[in-house]
Amino acid sequence: MAEEVTIRVNEQVATLAVDRDTPLLYVLTNELRLQGPRFGCGLAQCGSCSVLLDGVEIRSCVTPVGAVEGKQVTTLEGLPALYARQRNLARAPALHPLQRAMIDEQAPQCGYCYNGMIIKGSELLSRKPQPSEREIREAMNGHLCRCGSYPRIMKAIQLASRFMAEERP
């Protein structure tokens, strides 16, 4: 039954009348009309719906909205602002360094999986600013890309790592 659930998404508070068991994904896409997280399998197998929960990547398609109360949800839309907070930047850049790198590498084809790729890649970079190739492959292994753009995503994560290093005062 619908009841009030209060969640915090991209630093904003939303109180919703929804069934607490509703997967977070459907709330983000339908009630909050966000475009980052998106349906891919509904089974936590592909990474299409990824968001950060207190900075850690989760699959919103299998996470009940009731389970994220009191926590910070960050979607692709909120990623530059989160990055600015993590790095103590005066203001949020237009794009997270990994998003810039994805453009520089001309990485996407259809681009549908890039929500998850960027969310997961940014999580990795926040934990490990200079990941090795092996670490990237391991971290990203739960995210599928059907167009076969893995090599470019790999390069983009490495490029983003350099962007971040150069940004250091």
Binding site: E4, T15, Q35, F39, G40, Q99, Q109, G111, Y112, G148
Partner: protein, 744 residues
């Protein structure tokens, strides 16, 4: 109807049955983008391709909109086409954009299949742009009072040569007014030597929004008052043509989901609900008893295909194969097996339909809006002119996945409930009811003389064709279905089998398997049939090279005469720093052995070549592809960077299909329903890739989205032989199959 704005929200209000959103700053940075209008046009009228205005509109701000019938599938077609248009119009890339493909807005250019977009439709658009430029120069000549041959254009500003003060922009000349002229197709076009945008590595126009999250995919589109729909079908299709017959629906099984209701038309069953989660749950819970006959050839697919009553056709018959084989120094002869494979788009398809009396607007990710319109009209009982199809990109499908099926499902449900319905296929719907790339069986014989000349080649290929109707249509309309048909891309591929090598005696026979005799649905999957065909034929060629103790590249070269095939072979060999040697000449004895292979291939046109470096774990049977090199000659490369991206994608996807992908089924139904039961290549296992574009400024542009797939699979298979001295006759080359082959 209005645009797709947010519903008005009042603080701390409670909505009955609807969504309540309180305290969320929807006007802030989180505001969902204003989506395109969902209102249908007042009257449907497909633009007349004979009129220039159907192709190009020049605006007052000196920009231009280009109308194309070909859809963006992530392959970069839009960018390439805009380069072509901007080149002929002498505009900058920033001054051109593409209109959303819509049957009421954009001309019919045929389906976006077979990598034809740039090849067939590029010249069409180039001619339109040249016509537009000529018309604009006429206007400028009058306005500037100067002869047209003294005018030059840069970034849409026309100046008089030697008098740069006299200038006028396209926008000033025609801004937002119609040309009102017919296409001539005869206006002078720029010579290749003057190209500045075409052949350049212009960045993709769609990438910034795809990376920021602003790009509107089909899955994002909503309409006011819409319901969420889901289809309800048996999990996994059965034999094509047998349908899935509803015996009984227990509507009471979803009575606890107050908002959900069942939609039924014939054997088409779906559910709709105001909230998406309710629709998902209802589809999951609804109890439907299905009659699904156990007619699939589980465990005996290839035996069934071989035993079937085929329709045979000789595709190529040159010389006397039997006599040449009898005299050959060596003969390679084997049977090869290729699986059913799924399009398996990363996201299942989605569609939104608004059907009312005498009018339908269907938004979806079809590869051919104008073609789908007819199918929708037939299903809905409307005239095609009453149906409008608007395209939104979804996840890449690489052929006929469930996009049209999903569109028809949404339309059927919308018509039934009288409201807009958005249907999102679930993962199991998309994988389980796909139009799969058909399985393939091949008997191949090749002969070589002692000098290394291929003297004979014989290929018999078995497969059924592609079904013609979509599942939702079949289920809703009932009645007998059309048998799968054969056609150019559904026959044994004479381009790959006879165009690559100069062979005096060739026999190619197509054995068309009757697709209604208990098989899965078939459809065009990226580089249709080519992976199976190249897997068989390129291993045969490699086997002949080995039989005469020749380096495989040298052997291929010896048997080629076409400069373009030689060109891609040389390009890929050079990129891979190919060191000539006989395959498997110095085998290593370790548990993990490495190998390198080469192969060629195409899809109808263009020239593809690949080199693979792999490792084989002889105990586990696991193959790791370490690096793939892919070269493609697609004539004049409009944008080499786009083609490099396509080649890389082909190499990765071909690796997945060579090693992993295979649709599994029982006698009654497909059991490959998610990423665990239909696994694909993952990040951890992807090979490194090197893409080489062979630029041919003197040749017409041809397809660049499929033509390296077959070569890549062939190269991996040949690398396996180099590593192990054993031939794999069946793919995917799974650890089980590898272990079995190595033990044999």
């Amino acid at each position: 109807m209005t645009t797709n704005a947010q519903p008005a929200l009042s603080r701390r209000s409670v909505l009955k049955g609807g969504a309540l959103v309180v305290g969320f700053n929807i006007a802030g940075p989180l505001t969902s983008p204003l989506l395109d209008s969902v209102a249908p046009s007042a009257a449907a009228a497909t633009p007349d391709p004979e009129l220039l205005d159907s192709w190009i509109a020049v605006h007052a701000d000196n920009t231009a909109t280009v109308f194309m019938g070909k859809v963006e599938l992530g392959q970069g077609t839009t960018t390439g086409m805009l380069q072509i248009a901007a080149e002929e119009l002498d505009l900058a890339m920033s001054q051109v954009s593409a209109a959303r493909v819509d049957t009421d807005v954009t001309p019919n250019q045929g389906p976006a299949v077979a990598s034809l977009s740039i090849m067939d439709n590029g010249p069409q658009l180039r001619a339109a742009a040249a016509d537009a430029r000529q018309a604009l120069l006429r206007l400028a000549a009058a306005r500037l009072n100067a002869p047209a041959d003294r005018l030059s254009v840069k970034d849409g500003v026309v100046t008089v040569e030697g008098d740069p003060g006299r200038a006028v922009s396209y926008g000033d000349l025609i801004g937002d007014r119609r040309f009102n002229i017919r296409m001539t197709g005869k206006a002078p076009q720029k010579p290749v030597s003057q190209y500045r945008l075409v052949t350049s590595r212009a960045p993709r126009v769609d990438i910034p929004d795809k990376v920021s999250g602003k790009y509107v995919y089909m899955q994002h589109v909503r309409a006011p008052g819409m319901l969420h729909g889901r289809v309800v079908r048996p999990r996994g299709q059965g034999a094509y043509g047998d349908g899935a017959r509803v015996v009984r629906i227990d509507a009471g099984s979803i009575s606890d989901i107050a908002d959900a209701r069942v939609v039924r038309r014939g054997d088409f069953v779906g559910v709709v609900a105001g909230r998406e989660w309710d629709a998902v749950r209802a589809a999951e819970k609804l109890k439907v008893t299905w009659d699904v006959p156990p007619r699939l050839p589980a465990g005996r697919l290839f035996e069934a295909m071989r035993a079937s009553r085929t329709t045979d056709s000789v595709i190529v018959e040159t010389g006397d194969v039997a006599a040449a084989l009898a005299k050959a120094a060596h003969v390679a002869s084997a049977t090869y097996y290729g699986p059913y494979q799924s399009h398996a788009p990363f996201a299942p398809n989605c569609a939104l339909a608004d059907v009312s009396a005498g009018r339908a607007l269907v938004m979806c990710s079809t590869q051919y809006p104008h073609g789908l319109r007819n199918m929708l009209a037939q299903t809905l009982g409307l005239d095609p002119e009453q149906v409008q199809v608007r395209y939104y990109e979804g996840a890449g499908v690489f052929g006929r996945a469930c996009h049209d099926d999903c569109a028809i499902a949404a339309a059927v449900m919308s018509q039934a409930v009288g409201r807009p319905v958005r249907v999102q296929f679930m993962r199991w719907d998309e994988l389980g009811w796909d139009n799969y790339g058909p399985a393939h069986l091949a008997d191949v014989r090749g002969g070589v003389d002692a000098d290394g000349n291929i003297v004979a080649f014989e290929y018999h290929g078995w497969h059924h064709g592609w079904n013609t109707a979509e599942t939702s249509q079949e289920l809703a309309l009932g009645g007998p279905v059309q048998p799968p048909v054969s056609g150019r891309a559904r026959l044994v591929n004479k381009e790959t089998l006879t165009a690559v090598y100069a062979m005096p005696n060739v026999r190619l026979v197509n054995h068309h398997v009757p697709g209604l005799d208990g098989y899965l649905k078939g459809g065009n999957l990226r580089s249709p049939m080519d992976l199976s065909i190249s897997f068989a034929s390129e291993q045969t060629v490699d086997e002949l090279a080995h039989a005469v103790r020749m380096d495989p590249v040298a052997f291929c070269r010896r048997n080629m005469t076409d400069r373009r095939w030689l060109g891609v072979l040389d390009a890929v060999a050079q990129a891979a720093a190919w060191a000539p040697r006989v395959a498997h000449a110095a085998p290593s004895t370790g548990r993990v052995v490495s190998g390198r292979g080469v192969a060629l291939g195409t899809h109808i046109v263009s020239y593809g070549a690949a080199v693979a470096d792999i490792e084989v774990d002889r105990e586990s049977g696991e193959i790791k592809v370490r690096h793939l090199y892919g070269a493609l000659d697609a004539g004049l490369a409009v944008n080499p960077a786009l083609i490099e991206n396509q080649i890389e994608g082909m190499l990765i996807q071909a690796t997945s299909r060579a090693l992993i992908e295979e649709v599994q089924f029982t006698q009654t139904n497909v059991t490959s329903l998610d990423w665990k039961t239909y696994p694909v290549l993952r990040f951890a296992d992807h090979p490194g890739v090197t893409a080489i574009v062979v630029q041919r400024l003197d040749e017409r542009s041809t397809g660049a989205g499929e033509e390296v797939m077959g070569a890549a699979v062939g190269a991996i298979a040949n690398a396996f032989f180099d590593a192990t001295g054993v031939r794999m006759r069946q793919y995917p080359m799974t650890p089980d199959r590898v272990r079995t082959a190595l033990k044999a």
